[in-house]
């Protein structure tokens, strides 16, 4: 047998190429590709999980939803205050349980269906009447977070629903009734998970049919291919094989139309790779900028935007962990021992601040007049001695392989905090764990932790979303039971009047800082970057950036 000839191989490849050429139809629109100045490619850290925001809780799904959909109320641009969205105004009745929303008229969904009160009720009824797998906590996470349960709860773990009913009074007036007064209304309705969908598309693509079996949930076609809202952009294509998602201008939008024709979200999970892609021109912006990259990128002329901080990093103390930690003096000693200013100055991005409450000062109810625990190692030693805890050993959990907006470099943070604790005579037993799931399991549902740090980024602009999340009930993370504090939370949560509620949050912040369940450490402003010639985007503390206003400088 003779050796195969290279020439024969080349000929074979050529024949094969000719054979396949043109054997499939191109579905490219003529003129696509077009002018690059009409298209913004934006680098994101992960693929969206689902296109129906009712089922989403990850930032990337919500980013897309915010461009394609709209909610009844929405955060002010660049802030957290509740401002008009699809509703022009809203008022509670005298009981605080029924809210009347006056809707915008002349709005159409992307499929031509009309937006009106009936459409709003179809959406709320869809969420409220969720059945079967749609009640799974990983499917309707935010609904459950805000509303609790459903019309008919199928699991005993689910609490009763906060939502009661929706009534379309006329084409542009809708009443939302709730089972009790809650601090969440109306602020939580800003969440993209409460986006209003086209009832026609919901029905056409079987949107509520979350199928499969419990162990393999299958989303309906609507959630993967046909999201239909009223927003300034329409969904165009999700190309998983190329890790890109494309949205296109909605030329029939009722408000100011998007300036760019196309926005493409491109997944680049590696932070350095995103930076290199920006520099090489593959993308014209990206999110989750590493704190160390902020200054260099600014100096190179890129538009680095800093979001107002809307997060908190805290040191949690588990009072069930070490019996000594149940003594408030020991907890205060830990607070005095930490040099938080030094941490903020050396390890957190520019613009970060030391926290004095468990909520940032961008949220109403923040209180500067609380017990502050300025760095004072002598006082810490004295308090420890008084509590008979001079020989304290703490199991200190910290996460590895993760960066969060509030925590860019956990290991560095651990080293500083741990050195501070040791300086006042506390022995530290370091327990590094992989962030997901080991660390989260150990610290939020385990019982063998003494101190650890964790954080939170707010969902909407109400204080309860911060302090209530942490302290309104017994939680394994903190290991304390303080009925008085819990009652105070309940009272604040059921106060309908926003101004009165704000005062109650202030009182709560004071009570928390006296009780000292943990140490609030810092608020870090996350950064987002755009190309040198991209303008028009305003950074939002809620990551509610609106790409419709983006444009290229000519």
């Amino acid at each position: 047998m003779r050796a195969p000839r290279p020439k024969a191989a080349v000929a074979a490849v050529a024949v094969a190429a000719l054979a396949v050429a043109g054997c499939a139809e191109s579905d490219r629109d003529s003129g696509s590709g077009g002018s690059k100045k009409d298209t913004l490619v934006f680098g994101v850290a992960g693929d969206p999980k689902v296109l129906d925001p009712s089922f989403a809780s990850d930032g990337e799904s919500l980013r897309v939803a915010r461009q394609v959909f709209e909610t009844l109320v929405r955060p002010e641009e660049g802030g957290t205050k509740v401002t008009p969205g699809l509703a022009e105004s809203w008022t509670p009745d005298s009981t605080g349980t029924v809210w009347t929303f006056k809707l915008r008229s002349g709005v159409k969904f992307h499929d031509g269906a009309e937006f009106n009160a009936e459409a709003v009720c179809k959406n709320f009824d869809r969420w409220f009447n969720a059945k079967g797998l749609m009640q799974s906590p990983d499917v309707t996470a935010y609904w459950q977070d805000v509303m609790g349960g459903f019309a008919k709860n199928e699991s005993a773990d689910l609490p009763p629903s906060l939502f009661k009913s929706c009534t379309a009074k006329d084409a542009t007036t809708v009443d939302l009734a709730f089972t009790r007064v809650s601090s969440k209304i109306p602020a939580a309705l800003m969440l993209p998970s409460f986006s209003i969908h086209s009832p026609k598309a919901l029905e056409q693509y079987d949107a509520s049919n979350v199928g499969g079996t419990a162990e393999d949930i299958k989303y309906p076609a609507y959630a993967l291919e046909h999201p239909t809202g009223t927003g300034p952009f329409k969904f165009k294509a999700w190309d998983v094989a190329n890790k890109t998602l494309t949205i296109e201008r909605n030329d029939d939008y009722y408000g100011d139309k998007a300036k760019l024709k196309t926005i493409i979200f491109k997944t680049i999970s590696d932070e350095n790779a995103r930076k290199q892609a920006l520099r090489s021109g593959d993308i014209q912006g990206y999110d989750l900028v590493g704190p160390a990259d902020v200054e260099p990128l600014k100096n190179e002329g890129f538009n680095v935007l800093t979001r107002p901080a809307f997060n908190i990093l805290y040191l949690a103390i588990n009072q069930k962990g070490n019996p000594k930690l149940a003594d408030v003096k020991v907890r205060q000693a830990i607070a005095y021992a930490l040099n938080r200013q030094a941490l903020v100055d050396s390890k957190l991005p520019p613009g970060a601040k030391v926290a004095v409450n468990f909520m940032p000062d961008t949220v109403e109810g923040w209180n500067g007049d609380v017990t502050k625990y300025d760095y004072n190692p002598e006082k810490a030693k004295q308090l420890l001695a008084e509590a008979g805890a001079s020989n304290l050993t703490l199991r200190f959990h910290y996460p590895t392989e993760v960066t969060r907006p509030y925590m860019p470099n956990p290991k560095d943070i651990f080293e500083l905090l741990s050195a501070d604790l040791q300086a006042v005579g506390i022995k530290v037993q370091a327990i590094p764990l992989k962030w997901s799931p080991d660390y989260l399991n150990a610290t939020t549902s385990g019982s063998a932790h003494d101190v650890h740090f964790l954080g939170w980024t707010g969902d909407y602009g109400d204080g309860y979303n911060f302090i209530g999340t942490f302290f309104d009930r017994v939680k394994p993370e903190w290991g304390f039971n303080n009925p008085e504090l819990f009652a105070q939370f309940k009272d604040a949560d059921t106060t309908a009047d926003a101004a009165a509620r704000t005062e109650k949050y202030k009182a709560l912040n004071k009570a928390i800082m006296d009780f000292m369940p943990g140490v609030p450490i810092s608020h870090s402003p996350p950064a987002i970057v755009f190309g040198k010639d991209v303008t028009g985007i305003k950074a939002s503390p809620l990551t509610d950036e609106r790409y419709a206003t983006a444009e290229f400088k000519s």
Partner: protein
């Protein structure tokens, strides 16, 4: 030959069965589960418990395994717990990227490695030999992700010659048929899309080729040196064959057997996904996805992908075994 192939394919069954048992035990022994990955900081213990129940993770491991097997027999690999899409769909969308990248890397590695190894052997002890042996040592030692960053810093960030990320320029709006972008471009006559896909393969291809290239150079060189010392080469030269004929028909062909084996193993390895290269180049392939799935404790994806990768690995090595008889007719597969 036919019986040989059938026998090898039948051997797959116990292999896969054993692999699935080991994998299943190992995965379910990992601390934590998908519920925390799904819920993040926001989960309550009740929510976690409910997700575990939903996923059937609260049942005895034998029951879970039996369920997995029952579905596997129907060729159903289940649904990803993190994306809620069918595991086979996820695989079909990502495997073409890995195949294209592997082929690119192997074309570079073979195209340069074999001639270089051969020349190094012919010029043993001279400059080229030292250079290629030393160079291949560097190729093996240099971390792939470092090489990738350097390549990108030079050729993307500085010169803007090559793209630094992805498989294709998304603004082209190319048509998808098979998810092999190069092939799709040819099939739909979107020549620019095909060229762009090829362009995107260059830097990751070079980064990924560095290790196989170095290995192929070394094995080729060693193998050629060994064959050059054989009696039949001396005989062939003595009977007056031209140097070209001796090289091609006697030296290279006989030296190729170990090289072919290593190429098979290397290709199989690359096809199981290049985690670092794919991550650094934001290249949609199976390696980066599997790495992510481990973090997410996405059991169905891990089980499904690793099982398919095992099948692919066995098939590639089967092809290599078959190629022996082409390279060297004395080897008959039975």
């Amino acid at each position: 030959m036919f019986r040989f192939i059938v026998r090898r394919l039948l051997q797959l069954i116990p292999t896969l069965f054993g692999l699935s048992v080991l994998l299943f035990i190992w995965l379910h022994r990992l601390p934590g589960g998908p519920e925390t990955a799904i819920l993040g900081e926001r989960g309550t213990p009740e929510m976690r418990a409910q997700i575990r129940r939903n996923l059937g993770l609260d049942e005895p491991i034998l029951v879970q395994y039996a369920r997995f097997l029952r579905r596997l027999i129907k060729l159903d690999l289940g649904t990803s717990t993190s994306t809620k899409r069918a595991v086979t769909t996820e695989f079909l969308e990502r495997f073409p990227g890995t195949v294209e990248l592997t082929l690119m890397a192997m074309i570079i590695a073979i195209g340069i490695g074999i001639p270089l190894g051969y020349l190094a052997a012919r010029r043993r002890g001279r400059l080229l030999d030292h250079a290629s042996v030393g160079g291949s040592l560097i190729g093996i030692c240099i971390p792939v992700f470092f090489l990738a960053y350097v390549l990108k810093a030079i050729f993307s960030e500085h010169f803007h010659w090559f793209p630094s990320s992805g498989r294709q320029d998304p603004t082209l709006g190319a048509t998808r048929v098979t998810n092999f972008f190069l092939l799709d471009g040819l099939m739909t006559r979107e020549w620019d899309a095909a060229a762009d896909a090829l362009w995107h393969l260059v830097l990751p291809g070079i980064a990924l080729a560095s290790i196989p290239l170095a290995i192929i150079v070394r094995i080729t060189r060693a193998s050629v040196l060994e064959v050059l010392g054989e009696d039949f080469v001396r005989t062939a030269e003595a009977k007056g064959l031209t140097e070209n004929t001796v090289r091609r028909r006697h030296v290279l062909r006989n030296a190729m057997l170990p090289v072919a084996t290593s190429i098979g193993l290397l290709t199989g390895g690359l096809l199981s996904g290049a985690v670092l290269t794919e991550t650094v180049f934001a290249f949609s392939g199976i390696g980066a996805f599997v790495a992510e799935a481990i973090g997410q404790r996405d059991y169905p994806v891990l089980m499904g992908f690793i099982m398919i990768i095992a099948v692919v690995y066995v098939l590639v090595n089967l092809i290599v075994d078959l190629s022996y008889s082409v390279i060297d007719p004395r080897v008959r597969v039975r």
